[in-house]
Symmetry: C2
Subunit: 212 residues, 2 copies
């Protein structure tokens, strides 16, 4: 069994809680309130910024040979994603300034520092921590792309696109080139927990007073 599949199989129940979370179901049905979505988009923007820093830092441990494809597709091939996000930001009236000014929720701070932590440890552990985000969104995109809400469907269509899928493939290829080991489970599993709590926090609209 591939390393990625083995990881997911080990955490099957938790994975389901993540990709079929109530937030996701409401995106699909178009019933999610716009305030929660807006809240989520701002936190997600802060997340992506730290994620990119962590990818680059982890790449420095991997060396260019192993990280080249990932840097090329995920970091330097982000144009179409940025376009979709720009459109969503503008529809929701979210400015760069508001993203900067808004603090982190506790879970977003924990999650981004968790990624950063593993980005200083090893390429293998970083990939394990990073995979739930990239891989899960591919599933979520497909599941929600036919939402009757045009904002949610355009958000989802990006994550369901061939472009996004090809980025996930590159990450899966990288992790599947590494034999499975027990120490990959903890970063992978904790990241799924954070993804679940990330949806929860958007539905609750948690406090955002951790600066950064």
């Amino acid at each position: 069994m591939k390393t990625s599949e083995r990881l997911k199989a080990l955490l099957e129940d938790k994975w389901k809680q993540y990709v079929r979370h109530n937030f996701v179901e409401m995106l699909r049905q178009g019933t999610l309130d716009k305030d929660s979505f807006r809240f989520y988009i701002i936190q997600d923007s802060k997340y992506v910024e730290m994620m990119i820093d962590s990818v680059i830092r982890a790449s420095s441990l991997a060396g260019f040979k192993d990280s080249e494809k990932i840097l090329r597709s995920v970091i330097f091939g982000r144009d179409s994603g940025m376009e979709v996000h720009k459109k969503i930001h503008s529809e929701l009236n979210i400015t760069e300034e508001e993203i900067k000014r808004t603090g982190y929720t506790l879970v977003n701070y924990a999650y981004t520092r968790h990624l950063y932590y593993y980005s200083t440890k090893s390429w293998k552990l970083f990939l394990s921590a990073w995979l739930p985000c990239m891989w899960g969104y591919s599933e979520i995109g497909e599941y929600t792309m036919n939402s009757p809400d045009h904002l949610y469907s355009s958000w989802a269509t990006f994550y369901a696109s061939e472009d996004y899928k090809s980025r996930v493939e590159v990450i899966l290829e990288a992790i599947d080139s590494i034999p499975f080991s027990e120490d990959m489970v903890q970063p992978f599993s904790n990241s799924i927990s954070f993804e679940i709590m990330f949806w929860d926090s958007a539905l609750r609209k948690d406090r955002t007073d951790i600066m950064g």
Copy 2:
């Protein structure tokens, strides 16, 4: 004004919420329930372990000349603190095995990874992030040392001791040798927030399912 005093003065209200938290007041009065205290002690033990890792990592940025005193007193001079903690662990029936087996609360995970994050950035920012913990406990120890509960008073007596105070002095000396700058405020302020949430989480007995 000294750098440390300037930082505290800027966050005066928040500082008070931390060192006069309801948890602290109940320690002082001896009314804190033992379950919350036990919960706190286990999380604190996990915290201290990661804190020490972060101190050593940050010291590698500072160089031996600047970090020698801190390493000597805080890391290698921990004997009396370990003794008190061993006694408390044994009275509460807490084993090393239980500490390992218990996961982190979300706030403890966020806080320890926050410390770690700054330990890779700079000595100055690390000291700013670390100070609320070390300095605050000195105040809290003095405030609660006459608790009618013998467990709480022996816990507090350690943090009120000359031994502990001398460690805090070394850290204050280090930070006060650095001129105040605006970028110190964020790590310092976030750490106070985490300290407040740390008490909250012990009173609520938050979930401890983040592994590590």
